[in-house]
Symmetry: C2
Subunit: 202 residues, 2 copies
């Protein structure tokens, strides 16, 4: 159970990076106090939250007086704080380099091409704000967005190879950072068709 | 001088992430062999390079049999290899967290909003491939792109504050990763006007 001195995670479970931090803490046994910060209700623009993260993004962490944003940085900080950096961020120089490469790659690959460019405009934003305000893109445009992320998924397929995990044959921060952007596709009725060519990713 | 066993950096000096890695190695005294890999001549699509980085991006590193891509990962790997991780990636838990936050933030802030969304289409691509093939965007569109990166620059301004560096009052990996995407604006005749509101960034 999280002690009153445990770090506080400001989190919206509908946000993939928030889910990454929360999942890592569950898997690594890191105690955390959660503070729901719903994007849909504008909590991230309220003054109380802006004092924690003036850049109005979740997740954000407050540990005593120390405030930190960016999911990857929060994951690394919490693992180091609890002395479990190596199992999650790499046991050897090469493992650490590989995990660090995947975390950097994720920003401009899966996170950008699958989640921000496709999942958000195609299903999430129309659902949250209503199709009247933000119409779902036309079929041809959706096809184009999907063509744009095929390369990211193919690269991810090659990273995974014949195993179940990205690095070291075990769950690491790399899997945890990337997976939520993929499971977010589960709301898509075409998900099986989209992922058919990528058996390792699926 | 770089020994024949030193890591080989496949680099195109016109690429900002390549310049970051090269700059860090110069500043940290890390020996490196350079292999010019010109994007403009398609070297990144040639088979010899694809064996080093199948994802056809520079920079890429080859150290013995170990191949690594992603500038941030290469910087971290080389610093660790040479025992200088702390001065460049943080001397304390909080410094490491702050540098890690800035490196993650950079991907979706300055790198994306200034460089990929604005600098590339507005000056670099029309210059490299010719305006006939890739016309410079119209004035109104350029204005819109500039409005989109104002928030990133404002955030960077706040990170820098009244000092000269982002973290710890000294040059770190965070400055080195971000600076080339800003100095790339120097080709813009409007650069002084754009940066007038951001004295610390300038």
């Amino acid at each position: 159970m999280a002690a009153p001195s445990s770090p506080v995670l400001f989190t919206d479970p509908t946000s993939e990076p928030c889910r990454s931090v929360h999942w890592l803490c569950k898997a690594a046994g890191i105690p955390l106090r959660l503070r729901a910060t719903w994007l849909g209700r504008g909590h991230h623009r309220q003054e109380a939250f802006l004092r924690v993260n003036p850049r109005h993004q979740v997740p954000a962490l407050l540990h005593g007086q120390f405030a930190l944003s960016e999911a990857q940085a929060i994951m690394r900080y919490l693992c180091e704080l609890h002395g479990v950096l190596d199992p999650w961020f790499g046991e050897s120089l090469e493992e650490r380099a590989r995990i660090s490469m995947l975390l950097s790659w994720h920003h401009h690959a899966v996170r950008k091409t699958v989640m921000l460019n496709h999942n958000l405009p195609v299903y999430y934003i129309p659902f949250y704000v209503g199709e009247a305000k933000h119409p779902r893109p036309q079929k041809a445009q959706v096809e184009e967005l999907r063509a744009n992320f095929a390369e990211s998924l193919q690269q991810l397929e090659e990273f995974i190879g014949s195993g179940h995990f990205l690095v070291g044959g075990r769950l690491t921060a790399a899997d945890i950072a990337i997976a939520p952007d993929l499971t977010a596709m589960d709301v898509d009725p075409d998900v099986n068709e989209i992922l058919a060519a990528f058996p390792a990713v699926r």
